[in-house]
Symmetry: C2
Subunit: 378 residues, 2 copies
């Protein structure tokens, strides 16, 4: 596993998911003393790119059970600005070299790894070795082997491991999971998910660099589509076939541009996904025995929206990241369910690898066999 300097990808984090850079409202002054946070778990964000800056840090100002206690950055210039804005004491600020000293810092309970994919395994494992609970951004790592290494490190260190799968804490997604569990519209016959955005800016961004990302659209938005077909059916797939499409090879030199994949489920449901860095689309649709349900958008940060054959869905819109981090903190504090355990991230990586395998074999159907349900039912 190669270690990469933060500088290698710093310039490339300017775009959020869905290609939409959404600036959250500036957080209220959050420079509250640590005293106020004694009952809350301290979170350290590793990697201060746009996702940390515009989503996670503001969300942590609103969480009930955790707060932004520390930062880990490869960019010294960021240290002061973050320290001031979020009232982070000097001793809670780390860089990639001295990160392991975090083991001695009791103010940090959770390390949230928000780095390029190639750095996930390294920092998740180092965090676990430091005795910290770990949240790992998606995709979990570069491959299944690395996922295993992360899971094993966390088990060995007896720390909790959660994926940064914010949607499991999000009310529209939870409603979909309820429909599936309660068979509100009968059994699901068809599940379709598009998770894609059109990338036209900086071709040097780390997501388009295979050494840093491990893959293109599939490793990025594709994980949402895979997640959608699984929580949209309440089942792990039993097979997958896949196709790759390349139409802008000059821009997508190194990573997959557009991938489609088809899934079989034991229940008889059929699944179909499209993920792309060249197409704008974001939707989950399920056709059931007695109706249908749809989220559109289904996985953006902006308010999700949904319809069913019975009417429109309408849920309060809260920060997905706030809900997600509170759910993980509650898992640690109160032993509530881990909504997105590491094993779920590994399962999704197994599907990612099967999709790449199918593509390499000209679209051949690849069988999948998962031992557990990895909590997909939520």
């Amino acid at each position: 596993m190669e270690k990469l300097s933060r500088r290698d990808f710093n310039a490339t984090l300017a775009k959020g998911v869905g290609g939409v850079t959404l600036l959250a409202t500036t957080p209220l002054a959050c420079a509250m003393g640590n005293a106020q946070n004694k009952k809350k778990l301290g979170v350290a964000l590793v990697g201060l790119g746009s996702y940390s800056t515009y989503q996670l840090a503001p969300a942590l100002s609103d969480t009930k059970h955790c707060y932004l206690a520390g930062i880990v950055t490869g960019t010294p210039e960021k240290e002061n600005a973050w320290a001031e804005k979020y009232g982070i004491p000097k001793e809670n600020i780390y860089n990639y070299q001295n990160f392991d000293n975090i083991a001695k810092n009791d103010a940090i309970n959770i390390v949230y790894v928000v780095l390029p994919n190639s750095m996930h395994a390294d920092f998740c494992i180092r965090a676990a070795k430091a005795g910290k609970h770990v949240i790992c951004e998606k995709p979990m790592a570069m491959n299944v082997e690395e996922c295993d290494a992360i899971i094993n490190a966390c088990k060995k260190a007896k720390v909790k491991l959660g994926m940064g799968y914010r949607l499991h804490s999000e009310p529209y997604t939870q409603e979909i999971k309820r429909f599936v569990k309660e068979k509100t519209f009968g059994a699901v016959n068809y599940i379709s998910a598009d998770a894609a955005y059109r990338s036209t800016s900086n071709p040097n961004q780390w997501r388009l660099n295979k050494k840093l990302s491990g893959g293109g659209a599939l490793m990025n938005m594709g994980v949402y589509a895979i997640q959608s077909v699984i929580y949209g059916t309440g089942e792990n797939p039993i097979s997958v076939s896949a196709q790759e499409f390349s139409t802008r090879p000059d821009y997508f030199k190194d990573t997959d541009e557009t991938i489609t994949a088809q899934f079989e489920f034991l229940s008889g449901a059929t699944g179909s996904i499209m993920t792309s860095h060249n197409i704008s689309a974001n939707r989950l649709f399920a056709s059931c025995e007695r109706g249908w349900f749809e989220l559109d958008p289904a996985s953006t940060y902006i308010p999700l929206a949904g319809r069913t054959s019975s009417g429109t869905l309408d849920f309060p819109q809260e920060s997905q990241q706030k809900l997600q981090m509170d759910d993980f903190a509650k898992h640690i504090l109160f032993d509530s369910p881990n909504l997105a355990p590491g094993e779920m991230g590994k399962r999704d990586m197994m599907i990612v690898e099967a999709i790449y395998e199918s593509i390499a074999k000209g679209g051949e159907k690849i069988k999948l066999n998962f031992e557990t349900d990895y909590g997909f039912g939520g």
Copy 2:
């Protein structure tokens, strides 16, 4: 080519497209004398199943340039009821045996073949030989060879040949074609089409009998999905890969249940379709450079509906079949464009065959090479 008695499939036409049996409002008394119709072209419907009964015949009561002049049926009991309801003179009523006598009947200008797929080629060719213009229901025939035979027969007889592709005359579809032609939302990057309904009734219906239908979902709803991705991009595809899914083999003993397929287009657009007799879904969606457009439903008889990134589409709802038949009559009378020529039906059958070939080859990508655009731009 096997000739089949109407009785073989009579009982099986009870379900309309989309699995929805839509009873049109009872047509007003239409027993106007032929004198009134002198400037209109006379249409003979061949096959009086539910599509003729509930869609075409009522629509022909409203058309400006053609009217229901005759019927061809294998069920003698239907003759009187139709004759009375639509004022059809005895001499304009035929059965499958004496059908060729229609050559001597000047009241019949157009023969509309609304029979099971296996009978299309036979009756289209006989109609052409009788010197009548021909409308052929979709899919055009059992295979490309039969399509060629129909096209050649019509050319030889110097009669016009149109497919029963009603959507080309329908305003929502025409708006989609305008978006594509004028690049209203920029180039299309992705086109997706679902055309599917869930069949649970009579397993003996002709659509599920390969000898009569030539294939299952793909030969039925699949043609709509193929059409959608073509008029949704304004291009013929250059390749296709496909997958078949079977989950109710006891019901779908003989024909394909669910098929997914992926298309490449020269422009760089990627296409994805799903068609099924086991799933309810009916949608066209295109993601473009500067927005998107969607029809949902996209190919049912019931009012279509559409949205774009700029707002909702809203067109007057008229009988699609009325518009279609008037367009074909205008093609004959005024040499206006043939919106759905036989070559278009043949092209779609070539794609159908390529999809079955890809499935037979385990999802292998099949290259497509069409010489002309077959008027897909409308």
